[in-house]
Symmetry: D2
Subunit: 320 residues, 4 copies
């Protein structure tokens, strides 16, 4: 393969720029050409495509977001959408693609591969909820962003002896809540993978107060329920005057951490190696500290992401 | 005066620890003794008081919150509350107080002064809404915390071409919104000191899109209205799909900035000089880069805090 | 004036991008055109000049350094250099300039003004050593960067009971050392504006140890002497095993703080107002929280920058 | 085992407090008592020991350094030192120890185990150079601290078109240089595990300039040579005007990252489980994302730490 494209799709995450930079630099190193596609599959269909040089990816490794922009584009699931995309690939002479994103992006990558345009999927999301990898691009940055917020909230919680519920992102996965919760020493972590019993949560707050704890911090994964709803349930049991903070979109941004930049660089360079060998239909992952490749369909259909529930047990033992 | 006390009252703010450290160190330097009172006026009435040594304030200058804890205690407005407080002052031989906090704290400081216990008020709040000073302890840290959040949100806003409303603190004052808004290059800043016209806000978003802007960021002071309500008003005009983030309590915490630590240190040391000279009923402020003292009653009754509205005009000219 | 230029000169500082952005946006707002000149006066002479649009300055307010690049170019002090520069100004139809930088930049700005091309100088340096202003663009960011480093060093100093000398920037001025020293609670601050007595420094370390202090942190302004040399002098007196850290160029970079971005924006917009009125030969400053303009020659010849030496006294009283 | 001790030894690293907190909390959870030993083995011998409660480890998870202080104490390699230590263990009824530190600490832990006092070693150092684990406590924080410094230096390097050599820690290991180098997009990484050819380094700088690169950043591991010496070698070849920054002790401090806090918590709790089962002579590690235990002697004598040299190759391909 001599000419490849790269796009970012779905929700953006810190490290996507580092991944694109690695794709471009590695491809140039291997004597290939690279085209950047703006706005994900939407831009592919629209032909929003340009050649990328070494300089275009200079000074971007440290930036959050994605300079190729991103978009959700469900229409790419249709044959019509895919054929329009292929028209553009042909127009620019692009033979294969690196696609950075989540489940939907993987489906698009697989569809194009089946139609003769090998694609490699790279897991890019802060939520860490993509099967086939221990960590996704952006997760490490997100948990440190959340941790910073939790540290700040603890300052004020300690000063005033209060109970806080902090709702964090993660879609259906509890990974962000688990890692940031353990790291911040949160009293309780509520995740979708484990049920919760609101009276148990309330009892735990009261026990903490009896032990002389100055504050109770409860980290709630958005996949469980809304932070405000959770706080109302708690206040209905006892007069806790629970404060709620919904961290929101700050969790998606920020300069990527060292880990996220290194991981993204490894993924980006790895993807080019597969395309160079004309291989597609694969998604890359980090497994036990090694970069691995899986079949996309097998990954989406048969693998399941599981958070590290040992952390859940650990927190119960050392933070309550 | 030979023995003084120090307390923090009302909402906590970054730099309060630096102020207390300066009070203690300066008093020891002047040959005085210092007692720390926990939980503000509530702790004074309850006698939650202890002698502070040089070591007690070591390694705290960099910490957010207040290690003396804080509390709101409206009962101190009553004669009964004040007399109970004085009982404790007598019990510990405390002759005067440094009180770090906001309006309510100043009232308490004035009441004790009138009753023969000279007190000095120091402006401690992130909201910058205390008369008699250009800046309060904690404001500089808060605007940088908000700025960091706005920078992160811009990453994702740019990647997706979106409109964001970010609700920031400030009570009835627009200072946090103004400073953080200008510093982040926010497209619009909505503050209570200026009205707003929702159709004008909407027009501005549309104009920005026509100019090719990748995102619109609107910083909304909490004193205007709730972020969610504001977004609903906007979406009622046009289909903007506005995203809302309410930054919440993260704004109160964090390690204080250089400015806040320096200002708090100046205030703390300054307060001790007045008490040493047996002067009370004063509140300190920073005016034109100088530490000044005002009469508390005069400050609360006749001075009015005004944000720097030049920044409002500036932002209209360079950010829209 | 209808067409202006903007350049950054001398050492770069965080906030220069925010200043250039404000120049561009304000000029467009006023119906003027703006040209960006790369590499300071060197680029002016070489004609490395391009028109700047609203988009060119989008998404740069948060970036350290200067996207117009900077350079030192002593040749601009000669008539030959100035005439070559004017040739380029004429070629592009540029009628006046905004120059962000230090003393040398001001001299260049003045020379061009005298030759009929009005220029406004803006103080851009981390060192805060430019007369006519309380604060320069970049100073606030630099003291917070130094403060972050000092906080980190204290962690390890405390853990091991050690003495550290940290050399900080500032050229001949002690401002960075003073502010970061007070803010970090450094035991001693050594600046060029005050002499020092090495045996006094040594005595102070020993006194601190006797009082049970876990560490001694000495902040040394580079204008005094080299950190290594200073440490050797100390170790010659007693076996202190002093550790030295020279912070170096990290102090020049980083995303600007809220204050630096706001100040830079005010300066940039202010400069355009003067050029619009065809006024030149002025440099702007912040005096008592107000933006003011001074004659450049008067500023360089008759004003003298003085650090706030009250901070020096304050630190002696509360940190030793 | 019913009563255990915990100490930190050797160079401090961010996350040591999180490890001690986990030891204390987990031990209390298991119904054991915990004693904190100040200043490592030196404090053990001196009997600087106190009982730790839940509160003693509250609000420390986020702090750099070690609140138990640390020290190097080579005398503990002698029989005399060990017997004195055991005397103190007997005096306080301590049956086993958790020792956080490096090689020397492991030797001490092994010696005490052989004498009947089971000890568990936990790898605590920023250098990542301890065998038996993929990552040590503090490494992740250190690479992010270095990365922040490199990002700042790039700001100014880009603004001025310069060549920088940044010397980073790591003792004989290149891990910090490798990770921070890849993450920052450094042009060259020089580590002890790979030789270097100074003319090759110089050629690479010149090639970069020819390609239009605005800066060259070279990350140099301290295990290779002194930064100043390296720069002089470079400048002897060509007139590069290389700037050197030696990051120094800032690398050891700072609030630990999410990873370091989670890893330290896992290690701390894991150590208690082994002691509870009366097992000693082990050191814990993270291998392929799992907490594992190795025999200390086997680890020190037969295992060898190796950095991930794939990163070295990766950087050559994507950053030059």
């Amino acid at each position: 393969m001599k000419r490849i494209g790269v796009l970012t799709s779905g929700g953006d995450s810190p490290g996507m720029n580092a991944a694109v930079r690695a794709v471009v630099r590695k491809a140039l190193y291997e004597g290939m050409e690279v085209y950047g596609i703006n706005y994900g599959f939407a831009g592919l269909v629209a032909g929003d495509i340009r050649k990328l040089t070494r300089r275009d990816v200079g000074d971007i490794i440290q930036r959050g977001g994605t300079f190729l922009y991103s978009a959700r584009y469900p229409q790419f699931a249709t044959e019509e959408g895919q054929l329009k995309g292929i028209e553009q690939l042909n127009r620019f002479g692009i033979e294969g693609l690196v696609v950075v994103g989540g489940d939907g992006s993987y489906r698009g990558a697989y569809a194009l591969t089946k139609r003769g345009y090998p694609c490699i999927g790279l897991p890019g999301t802060i939520d860490n909820d993509i099967p086939g990898t221990d960590y996704t691009i952006g997760f490490d940055t997100a948990i440190n962003t959340v941790l910073d917020a939790l540290d700040r909230i603890r300052d004020t919680a300690t000063s005033h002896v209060r109970t806080f519920v902090i709702e964090v992102m993660g879609r259906d996965a509890g990974d962000i809540a688990l890692w940031a919760g353990v790291a911040s020493g949160a009293e309780q972590i509520i995740i979708p993978e484990k049920g919760f019993d609101i009276t148990g949560v309330a009892d735990n707050i009261r026990e903490g107060r009896e032990k002389g704890k100055k504050h109770t911090i409860i980290v709630l994964a958005e996949g469980v329920m809304d932070g405000k709803e959770f706080a109302e349930k708690l206040d209905a049991i006892d007069n806790f005057h629970v404060r709620v903070t919904v961290l929101g979109h700050v969790q998606r941004g920020g300069s990527p951490t060292a880990r996220d930049r290194v991981l993204a660089s490894q993924f980006g360079a790895g993807a080019v190696e597969y395309l160079k060998a004309d291989k597609g239909g694969l998604c890359l992952g980090l497994r036990n500290e090694k970069i691995v490749a899986h079949d996309i369909v097998d990954t989406l259909d048969n693998m399941k992401h599981k958070p590290n529930l040992d952390l859940y047990k650990l927190n119960k033992e050392i933070s309550s």
